[in-house]
Symmetry: C2
Subunit: 329 residues, 2 copies
């Protein structure tokens, strides 16, 4: 066996040990993975890549955390579609000094979050690359009527999120400001940054509600992502209140920054952003609270028109979408 085949044999062992691996119709090692989609459901597919030096540095994040984040960001897209994860494939670029142990560590991170959401890693591709590169495609299933997309929102809808925002950005700054946060807030920020939890169960719950008109996940920051949802739905969005995570508020204070910025342009929060019927908001939020032990947080409103605005006491002021632009110079 050459070195690639040896590593693949080791990966095969940990992949075939996954609890839901048997739902695949063939075993790893064929040219492609085979499965039986359920009859009444639609299939959903998404892809997302993390690149060393762009999305992470190995000096500040373990490969296990990188694997977790890469998988979590794909599962978060499945959550945004209201779907149940089925399987994922992984294309991995390994730098010249990357070892087989490094690859297995990254797989441990991916398997950690995938297994928690019954998503099976079904194989993939492995190749040399100038740096670590991890590209995942994830497949889920959803009833046709439960897949909400970004384009269904209407003027008058309430905009809400599934949790407070900005903790991931606080985690990014933590190394330089470690003494400024309490241990609890440090933990919140680190967990949000390194081990984000995709809102799979929340997405399925919200997708099943007829009152929810549009849904997406927040990966590039609330201002950028809400502008996208509003544009897709042909509406304007007005931000009235920004729920800032406690660790983000503390970090902003410590660094003399605006806490709202952490939530508006931080990105990588992986909470769900949704537009729902204003009359049903309290009802849905109370059922959500019963199920998940926390509130849906209202962020603002959609109205006719276009653009993104922020309500300030008596007037609205335009906001520039300041979230993450992957192609910014």
């Amino acid at each position: 066996m050459n070195r690639e085949d040896q590593l693949i044999a080791q990966m095969r062992e940990i992949i075939e040990a996954q609890p839901h691996y048997r739902k695949l119709a063939n075993s790893i090692g064929d040219d492609a993975a085979l499965w039986q989609p359920s009859r009444s459901n639609r299939s959903v597919i998404t892809t997302d890549a993390l690149i060393e030096g762009v999305h992470f540095r190995t000096e500040t994040m373990s490969l296990e955390d990188v694997g977790w984040r890469a998988m979590a960001s794909n599962l978060s897209d499945l959550a945004a579609m209201g779907s149940r994860p089925v399987l994922a494939t992984v294309a991995l670029g390994v730098p010249q000094d990357g070892t087989g142990a490094d690859v297995l560590e990254m797989y441990r991170g991916m398997l950690g979050v995938a297994s928690a959401h019954r998503c099976t890693i079904a194989g993939g591709d492995i190749t040399r690359a100038p740096g670590w590169m991890i590209s995942i495609a994830a497949v889920g299933e959803v009833r046709a009527s439960h897949a909400k997309g970004r384009g269904g929102a209407r003027g008058g809808d309430v905009v809400a999120v599934t949790g407070p925002l900005g903790a991931s950005r606080a985690g990014l700054h933590l190394a330089d400001n470690v003494s400024m946060l309490s241990e609890t807030l440090r933990d919140e920020a680190l967990r949000a940054h390194r081990r984000p939890e995709p809102r799979i169960r929340e997405g399925q719950f919200l997708g099943a509600s007829e009152h929810v008109h549009a849904m997406m996940d927040i990966s590039d920051g609330l201002s950028t992502d809400l502008a996208r949802l509003a544009a897709r739905s042909g509406c304007a969005a007005v931000v009235e209140s920004v729920p800032v995570a406690a660790s983000a508020a503390a970090m902003a204070r410590a660094r003399g920054e605006d806490p709202w910025d952490y939530a508006l342009s931080g990105g990588e929060d992986y909470e769900l952003l949704l537009a729902l019927d204003a009359r049903a908001f309290r009802h849905v939020s109370s059922r959500f609270h019963k199920r998940f032990g926390r509130e849906l947080l209202a962020v603002g409103r959609l109205r006719e028109g276009s653009g993104l605005f922020q309500r300030k006491v008596e007037r609205e002021e335009a906001i520039a979408p300041t979230g993450w632009d992957h192609l910014r110079e």
Copy 2:
């Protein structure tokens, strides 16, 4: 719109213009693509990545060719499963000096080969990267009984390929040896290297035959890939004859190299490698000829045992798998 959203809007136009785009149940711009799998079929998924500096150099290959090759190598995996392509997602890493026009050029290459095989590009991810990086996941459909895999071959089976091998390696050497080949052979080598044709129709035809026991595509070279098929099937493989492409034979002669090496370890030929019942070989090959206008080419036999051998006049000699090892130092 930020720069990323502008480029995505342009990509959306060319993606939504695809002839089979309407088989998707949502439009591009949601968090994930949605489709309805056919009831009687199994779904198949594969992923494959091309990295600048590892798999290609932009000095010797246009971005359109790179896009074509990346898509072709994924479709080739679907062909090996006997499946019909449905859709693909694309994660694209763009270097600092890569322009929107470059991205669209790469998409043109991907769309060229995808459209020819009714595969719809359903969206993807785009991000900065240290160099060009293109990672595709492709989904197909196949009847359960038509998906052959690598593990079903038996002792006594004939091993065959769908076409002569080595032309892609000849294409790799072409720039330095351009005067040594006739125009026809130059074209063959260049086409094989830059615009390989996935054997989709051939794969569906062969997958539907009960006489075909195992199938895979040749991406890392016949010696390496046949060793994998034999190992998965618990057999030994004996190579009796290696069908060398005319351009590969000419290039080997010109460079004083062994033509068989081009076929045994060249790689990226994307022909299908199959094991089929020896009694049915002539029958299947003649039906194959009627359908596709060319023969199935017998390469050797499988027998009980393990390992990879080459028959030389009166004896067998062990062959080392010398195909591409993606993790070779």
